[in-house]
Each structure stands twice: as structure tokens, then as C-alpha cells.
Symmetry: C2
Subunit: 99 residues, 2 copies
């Protein structure tokens, strides 16, 4: 969900995705390479992102990932599910929270 959300802002390469999530979350969320690249492969397989080799601003070759239409749809699904789950956890935690 976080990767899809990041790519929904703008196409980006793997390293940039990791940095973006890390920075926006104030270093709380860190996506390691061993999680990130397999995750991107899964997103490719599902057709939620597409990839192109391009050059970065710093003149390096990098694989830029772009959200597809299906990816945008999936992001919506995951956001909804996430919010439902968070709300549900909130209900479990809320009851007698002061105890």
C-alpha cells in the first residue's frame, strides 16, 4: 500500500521509493532492499505497476516504476481495507482503554 501510494504521487525508482517512505514517516518506516525489490516484483506480476529503465537526475541508470490504472484501483482497495482494519482495532482498543 505504501509503495503504491508513493508511486501514485510520481513515478520513482526503488531507491527513491525507500527514501520517500523513510523521510515522510520521520524514519519510523524503513523498507529494506530485501523487502522492497521482491515487493516490486510482486507488484509487476500483478500488473499494478510498470517499469522502465531511465536515467536519474544524477545520471545513473535506474528502473522507474509507474502506477497503472489497475494499480490505482488496487491502491483504493487497500486504503479502504486499511482504514477498516484500523477502525476495527480502534474499537477493540477503545473499550476500557483507561484501565
Amino acid at each position: 500500500m505504501l509503495i503504491l501510494k508513493t508511486l501514485n504521487r510520481a513515478p520513482l525508482h526503488g531507491y527513491g521509493i525507500a527514501l520517500s517512505i523513510k523521510r515522510l514517516s520521520d524514519d519510523v518506516l524503513t523498507v529494506e532492499e530485501g523487502s522492497l525489490y521482491p515487493a516490486l516484483q510482486r507488484l509487476l506480476l500483478q500488473g499494478w505497476v510498470k517499469a522502465e529503465w531511465k536515467m536519474t537526475e544524477t545520471n545513473r541508470r535506474a528502473r522507474f516504476y509507474t502506477l497503472t490504472a489497475a494499480g490505482r484501483k488496487q491502491l483504493g482497495v487497500e486504503l479502504t481495507q486499511f482504514e477498516q482494519m484500523i477502525a476495527a482495532i480502534g474499537r477493540v482498543l477503545q473499550d476500557a482503554q483507561e484501565a
Copy 2:
């Protein structure tokens, strides 16, 4: 965290914990037996809960779990971590959420 939170309200047996979480979350969160009982074993090993065989209101033998002092402390730690993580995810999702 949800199990510890449930036991923080009152000692309860495994089946009761599962029902409580399911009901409080409006059926969104379902803890299966294959997740619940291993999780309870882990909580026992950590010393966060203790267990006693007792009789239920319906006259069945059941293992009642009670939160220990260490368990209450751990619950606090996990609640804090959870809130931090949710806040961090919120920051990642918030930016350009409308896009």
C-alpha cells in the same frame, strides 16, 4: 497487542478471547485457532500472561489467561509502538491523499 488488551479487561480463556475480538471489531478481526493458541504459548513463554485451568459459566473446563505485571507493561509498549506506526503511515498516506 489485541490479546493483551483483551486480557487487560478481565481474565479469559482462548475461545473467549477470540469471540471478544471478533465481536468488538464487528467481525473485521477474526483470530483463528491456529493463530490464537500458538500466540498464547508465546505470551506464556514471555511471562506476559499466566494460565489456570478453571470451569466456565457453562460448566466446561477451560484455560483462563491472566495478564501479569510484565504483560501490562508490554501492553503499554505495544500500544505506544502501534500508535507511532499508525501516525507514521498516516504521514505517508496524507501527502497528496486527494490525488
